[in-house]
Assembly symmetry: C2
Amino acid sequence: MTTSDPARDSDASGQAELIDVLVQATFMTVAVLSGVAADNDLSLTQLRVLAILRDRRVRMSALAAYLGLDRSTMSGLVERAEKRGLLARAPDPSDGRAVEVFLTGSGAELAGALYIRIEQSLSPATGRLAPAERRRLAALLRQMAGPEG
Amino acid sequence: MTTSDPARDSDASGQAELIDVLVQATFMTVAVLSGVAADNDLSLTQLRVLAILRDRRVRMSALAAYLGLDRSTMSGLVERAEKRGLLARAPDPSDGRAVEVFLTGSGAELAGALYIRIEQSLSPATGRLAPAERRRLAALLRQMAGPEG
DNA sequence: TATTGTTATACTCTATAACTATA
DNA sequence: TATAGTTATAGAGTATAACAATA
């Protein structure tokens, strides 16, 4: 989304300029995350599932809602990951319709390793900032994308 | 990639904390972009193709390299977009092997509309920042993800 | 009646392998 | 020989529609 629109030159509010570089940083990050996932024969979505389940046990429907996917899509994703021994399903005792998903030992191990690889793979980017700048950037990103949104 | 790792509490360098919120902001942005794309019956990759071609005419191989895709994948993406009348292919006069891709009038019109929708759809997030904060965030993101990386 | 999850189906996205044409 | 692009193939990701079981 890089443009050379002349209207951008007098962008006093910084909206358009921020959007350009935000989109650029987004695809840089997606590329890094996808690379780490691919190195482990995972899709980006599978990586996200492992990350979500790292410290939680959740219902199929909650997983689908959080990822913005249809429940039928979740069934396929979970089935393939289950076949690989990364996670498992169990009926929810409190609701006969619901199914809970959780990591196996092997899945938890992989999730931990993935997190370390992500930190390493992003460090060339984050390392371009001084510690104080990193904290400032984190604060601004949290304000922009934070809990409220 | 949100965690409650106690090691994070004493993260004086801000590395891990930045990574968490960067990944969160990344998926927020991807969700917004994917939503805009889906509203126009496009995939996120197709939207990126239109954005790249907005002010350029590029070779198939350059497009594939920029997006990190195989050339055969580009052939399919471009063929489907061409079938919809959004872009076209033409042989490169300077190299008999090469093919250049460029937007049609209809494709350029859509690309412009998409950009406006993206600005609108991201504004709830960017609007949480004051103009000076937006400029500061843009500068930090540029430094982190900028031209060098 | 509404919700949860699965299955069947169809299409897009993606990479690998094999191929043609050009450099 | 190497590069540019396409085609064939196969598998993963995705949504829609229809369904069964439970609430």
